[in-house]
Symmetry: C2
Subunit: 242 residues, 2 copies
Amino acid sequence: MEPIDQNKKTGRLYGLGVGPGDPELMTLKAVRLIGECDTIAIPVSGRETNVAFEIARGAVPEIEAKELLEVFMPMIREESKLRESHDKAAAAVIAELEKGKDIVFLTLGDPSIYSTYIYIHNRVAAQGYETEIIPGIPSFCAVSARLNEGLTEASEALHVIPASYGGIEEALALKGTRVLMKSGKSIGKVKAILSKMEPPPEVKMVERCGMEGERVFRRLEDLDEEAGYFSILVVKEEQKRR
Amino acid sequence: MEPIDQNKKTGRLYGLGVGPGDPELMTLKAVRLIGECDTIAIPVSGRETNVAFEIARGAVPEIEAKELLEVFMPMIREESKLRESHDKAAAAVIAELEKGKDIVFLTLGDPSIYSTYIYIHNRVAAQGYETEIIPGIPSFCAVSARLNEGLTEASEALHVIPASYGGIEEALALKGTRVLMKSGKSIGKVKAILSKMEPPPEVKMVERCGMEGERVFRRLEDLDEEAGYFSILVVKEEQKRR
């Protein structure tokens, strides 16, 4: 017989991707873990807040009955304040893990790609708690599916660039397929850069893919500069048919 | 009352991503559509052949009872022969659609990222048949989850580069996170390039992520040059803690 471990058992943290919007694009593993966990954590004051919860609820209505841990993660730019805020958020998560609760922290898309969750994850893991990342469908895969075409073929490269990237003009000039994430406010600027490129690339955009209010734009000149935060641009080289 | 359409009803083609290996990483939509379709198509003589089918069977055992369409897709390099082979494969799919069958074409990972399926998809769609892409978890998201860390944070770019890419040295020198797909045979070459880089990047690799025989390498010097086709390298800039 194994000796009984007298140490207090701490909980496990799951950073769980709910995918891009359609609840049916959640994985079997995501659905199972939401059902099994004690506590659901969501970031508050991030724009993704209720979006991720709503997606999860679409596939797992029982999520309503779970304990909810709202983690305050304000949108701030200053590095030191941001770090401080992440430290506090991690401490709030750790306090729950110390009670022995298994926590599922919901993130939109995939947790490894531009999620704010990862800052919590790294801190909690560094302090020796059990952590696990549960992949989700990234938004750009759903956008490509919505456009009913591939992103990359054969030996092409795929470049995923956040709107906050420093050298957006150079990034847009890279060879292969370029995906611009969270374009929102920068669409006007990006449109101006793209319209000067020779040969003209193929440009498409999906706003709020798989969510209410979804819009699809299939030509550079049609892109709405007022489109929102959840807009993804796909910039391709002229297509060769293979 | 709607007039009854006397035209023969053709089937619909679904290009469906089963994800990277673990059957539990399949989406709810993938599972539903495999259950509902008439015919399962798999590429034959591609290395992904049975892998995708095995993954799907792990989540949907009923797949065994489905009609199976084996689509011959040889691994050839010559452009004209490759096109010819894709034309033939598309014709085989269309023949089934013409019988009114709904077809789920299985692909490993996500259909929009380096799948051979997309060549069939484009041809079938161009001929006016109903087609739909069902996203799957890309292998690099599963690799990042396996490494228990993020791929990209904040304003970093993510570059996904297939081993067959022309300028692999320049691609490896790009800023941000670089993911090398289907590295297999080129690991030795890539290792040599990376070992000369200053400052030394952080290099990790997962072989057969989520499949039998999975191996994880956490340091450049440990990478096994004999690792197989399903090996993915993650090359990161020196980590700043945020």
